[in-house]
């Protein structure tokens, strides 16, 4: 009671050193306000932030709890001057700070905190291009064997011998997903094999754009191997853009058509297990591949071969054996080596800082 009376008599201390500045690395329309805490911060309700265009009339733009020293006003007009005051608030008692210097927001052309990502991308991109350049000069590159990709020839051959179709699904990803694009690359190579062996290909789709692209990919593959007449336009078709309706439809195809080989390669969600288990129950050889870590255990469990993560991206190069594409894989591997070395070095340094011996160097 005595404290409340005292506060009523002498008030609360206002925040000090109010500073306003244009929010860095943004697209404009935002100003950052910072201040030093009020000496009575512990008993405050919080801080109110006031803004003015002319330094005379202020309007409230926000409130933030106590023990906070920063507020982002993300509703400003670029190129217009603003003054800010921060108010210490206790019940109905308000204590205004000094006004900040005038400040204006403006958009930036570069997001500086992302510079490290850009540099890393440039370095890894450079490595990949370096190895592509070397591959172009004819340097032979060794690529480790990937069981899932080695089995593709057997899987296509089995379907041909049995006179049964091959089912290829790119999953439920959209054309913006890199896994879907990688899957389309693999589809092109498998379509070539189907064209050579005259094996029927079934390729149902969830996304109309992916369907349109896949249709062209398969058609071009048939043309590339000199069998444009063998291309069946109805082998690549759109089903639905609903996830579980698609899963039901593809499961139905597996049960009715009984494909000899199922390729489940691309971007998958919960339907991965439905498709993989249904395929396994029909006795088909199943080759799956995805970069979605939560779906990998389902594929590993229910499929004969699984392309894990990066193997999906390496598949197209592995199947086509094109030197330029193989060069890119070598670049990826070196990138992983660098990341691995950095992780080991970071772990060692992190462990060493715990050792008492390092105190000797202080």
């Amino acid at each position: 009671m005595a404290v409340i009376l005292l506060i009523g008599l002498i008030g609360v201390a206002p925040p000090t050193h109010v500073r306003a500045y244009d929010t860095p690395d943004d697209g404009g329309g935002s100003i950052m306000v910072e201040w030093h805490l009020s000496q009575d911060d512990a008993i405050l309700d919080g801080y109110e932030i006031y803004r003015s265009n002319d330094g005379d009339v202020y309007e409230k733009v926000g409130f933030i709890g106590r023990n906070r020293t920063r507020y982002e006003d993300s509703n400003t007009e670029d190129g217009e001057n603003y003054f800010y005051k921060v108010v210490a608030l206790k019940d109905t008692l308000k204590m205004y700070s000094q006004a900040s210097q005038p400040v204006m927001s403006s958009p930036q052309w570069f997001d500086l905190p992302k510079l490290n990502i850009l540099i890393a991308c440039v370095i890894f991109g450079g490595l990949i291009l370096y190895f592509v350049y070397h591959a172009r000069k004819g340097k032979e590159l060794y690529i480790r064997k990937i069981a899932g990709l080695q089995a593709i020839d057997d899987a296509v051959g089995r379907a041909t011998e049995m006179g049964k179709p091959i089912l290829y699904t790119t999953g439920t990803g959209l054309i913006g997903d890199i896994a879907t694009i990688a899957s389309l690359n693999i589809l092109g190579e498998i379509a070539k094999k189907c064209a050579r062996y005259d094996t029927q290909l079934i390729n149902p789709h969830l996304d109309p754009i992916v369907y349109t692209v896949a249709r062209e990919v398969v058609k071009e593959s048939y043309t590339q191997v000199g069998r444009p007449d063998a291309f069946d336009p109805d082998s690549v078709y759109f089903i639905t853009d609903l996830q579980f309706a698609y899963a039901a439809a593809v499961s139905g195809i597996m049960v009715r058509e009984k494909p000899a080989t199922n390729f489940l390669i691309g971007w998958f969600m919960a339907e991965s297990l439905i498709l993989a288990e249904t395929g396994a129950s029909t006795g088909a050889i199943q080759i799956a591949g995805t970069d979605r870590v939560p779906q990998l255990p389902f594929f590993i469990t229910a499929c004969d071969y699984t392309l894990i993560g990066e193997e999906l991206y390496a598949a197209s190069a592995y199947i086509s054996k094109e030197p330029l594409l193989l060069g890119a894989i070598k670049g990826e591997d070196l990138g992983k080596l660098i990341i691995g070395a950095a992780l080991i070095a970071g772990s060692i340094i992190g462990l060493l800082t715990k050792l008492p011996i390092l105190n000797l160097f202080k």
């Binding site: 697209g27 958009p107 930036q108 052309w109 570069f110 997001d111 992302k114 850009l118 991109g125 990949i128 592509v132 694009i181 389309l184 690359n185 092109g188 190579e189 070539k192 789709h205 109309p208 754009i209 349109t212 692209v213 249709r215 990919v217 058609k219 071009e220 593959s221 590339q224 336009p233 109805d234 690549v236 078709y237 759109f238 609903l242 996830q243 579980f244 309706a245 899963a247 297990l273 439905i274 288990e277 970069d291 870590v293 990998l296 389902f298 590993i300 469990t301 229910a302 993560g309 990066e310 999906l312 991206y313 390496a314 197209s316 086509s320 594409l325 890119a328 894989i329 990826e332 992983k336």
Partner: protein, 221 residues
């Protein structure tokens, strides 16, 4: 020209896709939003027409040739026509030119979605429980040393997250958490590093025209 022009377009739009990541300026962001939200939707609308055309063609052909289970194709075509009529005349939420109700059932897409599509989707999703049981049986057969390791760790985790685990040993729940947080996360991160680099390489290969499988492969003009 047949391949050069798509590759040229791909290079331009590939670069346009990278720039908004590092340039926050509204000119760049607005252009990116236009490409993603407006341009892509227009493209998707045209692709949808092609997609529906392909779906109908496949099923018409199935009926024409009386292939196996051709009767079900009629179900698809009839429901397609009914849904189209309801969508065109009843609208999405009943604001169409001919809003019709029979009792509490209003003829619009929203009603169809919630009364037919959602329960059917939920049914498929519910089937996952049975698929998981059968997949778990397959995974937990100790056929190799890796499978045995999987079986043992899965058993520890299943017991560890139950109240029974705490009863057996006070250390079991924390050991379970350690398996989830350390070996599990380490393996996932290893995969994710590979995936990230693979994505970068694939994107670069496609933008620079090195990867052309999506064009049917080869380097012809």
């Amino acid at each position: 020209m047949k391949k050069t022009f798509p590759l040229f377009l791909l290079f331009i739009f590939g670069i346009l896709g990278i720039i908004p990541f590092i340039v926050p300026h509204p000119i760049v962001q607005d252009t990116n939003n236009f490409l993603l939200n407006v341009f892509l939707k227009i493209l998707a609308a045209f692709a949808l027409i092609l997609g529906l055309g392909s779906l109908l063609r496949v099923h018409m052909d199935k009926i024409k040739r009386k292939r196996q289970n051709w009767q079900y194709s009629w179900v698809l075509i009839i429901t397609f026509i009914i849904t189209s009529i309801i969508g065109l005349f009843g609208g999405v939420t009943g604001e169409g030119i001919l809003p019709t109700r029979i009792g509490s059932f209003s003829f619009d897409i929203w009603t169809l979605y919630f009364n037919i599509e959602v329960p059917l989707g939920a049914t498929m999703f519910a089937l996952l429980a049975f698929f998981m049981a059968s997949a778990a049986y397959r995974a937990f057969r100790a056929r190799s040393s890796e499978a045995t390791l999987l079986l043992v760790s899965a058993f520890i985790i299943m017991i560890g997250v139950l109240p029974l685990g705490e009863r057996i040993s006070h250390h079991l729940p924390s050991f379970t958490q350690w398996i989830m947080d350390v070996p599990n996360v380490a393996a996932q991160r290893g995969i994710l590093f590979g995936v990230a680099l693979g994505m970068l390489a694939t994107a670069l290969k496609i933008i620079l025209g090195i990867e052309r499988s999506w064009l049917g492969g080869g380097g012809g003009e």
